[in-house]
Assembly symmetry: C3
Homo-oligomer: 155 residues x 3
């Protein structure tokens, strides 16, 4: 057991754990926002979900797409596409022995960029807000990937 807690006692690893949990919770929030818009907009995709609004024609008309629901879903998918690489590359980066201050800078900028991205997508803010916040998170991930390959490359 002692060996395991050594990992979580390392400050860089703790920073990785903190910011990973933050961005994953942020991503999970998208599910709740989707559910909120589906219910308030009455826009469902599964016939069994409309049953609470009655049966027959009145329920069927709730089987539709809604622009707000689709917007949240695109934000959710964009999170998946960008947070999955952070999850893997960030873990390997944290294990590659970076300076604590450098690591914190990477993690903070990534988490900040993804939070800005979500606001830019959902409000929505005029471009290039969303594009830039996406690019910042993307670039930080590339920089961490470069560090991992420089430290660990074994083809």
């Amino acid at each position: 057991m002692a060996k395991l807690t050594q990992l979580i006692d390392n400050e860089v690893f703790r920073a990785y754990a903190t910011y990973t949990v933050i961005v994953l919770l942020k991503m999970m929030l998208m599910s709740l926002i989707t559910a909120y818009f589906r219910i308030t907009r009455k826009a469902f995709v599964n016939p069994e979900d409309t049953a609470v609004f009655g049966k027959g024609e009145s329920a069927k008309k709730n089987l539709r797409t809604d622009p707000d629901v689709e917007r949240v879903r695109r934000g959710h998918l964009n999170d998946l596409e960008n947070i999955v690489p952070f999850l893997g590359i960030g873990l390997l980066y944290a294990l590659s022995g970076p300076e604590l201050s450098t690591a914190l800078l990477h993690f903070r900028i990534f988490a900040g960029a993804r939070i800005v991205h979500t606001f830019a997508y959902l409000i929505p803010l005029p471009q290039p807000s969303r594009g830039l916040s996406w690019a910042v998170g993307y670039t930080v991930t590339i920089l961490m990937a470069y560090r991992v390959l420089k430290t660990a490359l074994y083809l």
Copy 2:
């Protein structure tokens, strides 16, 4: 080499490994179910996939969406949205030194909830079966995230 096997010898970590492999294999099964429905329903999305059913008009009519295929695909995407957070948060939780019995409880409930969710989605069972099974897995992930932040928080 010795150090590495110490990790996999830890019982909490072995439990995490076991249930992570189970839910990931379950998620991978969705690809096979999608392929099965695409072939039996003759509902493809890529023109090159219809070639085995002949060319020209007879092939073109197989380029269509099918409700059963779309249902499996939604289940698959829901898996991604929920199993990715479990993958990351569960790993950090396992490394945060929880009691074995507590950890097992979290992992078992999560895996059980996701398996019930899949049946509820594909059969489909009447609501709130799918909603509840989703909420159980979601809640377990939040509880593990809370424990990680309590143990490792480093902002």
Copy 3:
């Protein structure tokens, strides 16, 4: 700090780190290809993205789906569905103490299969190129999952 670098000094773990970064970067490339096709095909999904092409009717007609954009997006989603299991199962496999040569074989075949899959999807190559490359990556992941369960099973 010493303990952490022991992990990244392990050759199997370094091989995992290398091939994971490679497949995640390949997946991230899909975002850039999507953006490239959206801009060259003028096919956007968010109203705010069309603003650079002017306002009113001329911008609205750029809110459309394009077959090439949709093809890249399907490739991207397929990457997510297959690389997420590799990320989790591959990590646990690397920690289960496999022979270096065996591990390298698994990682190389998986990465190669996913790169072939991308070319097969985007060119597109006639089937069964895409199907086979998908099946190869899928099978390698299953084999690694089997090894993890054999080594670590703790239900």
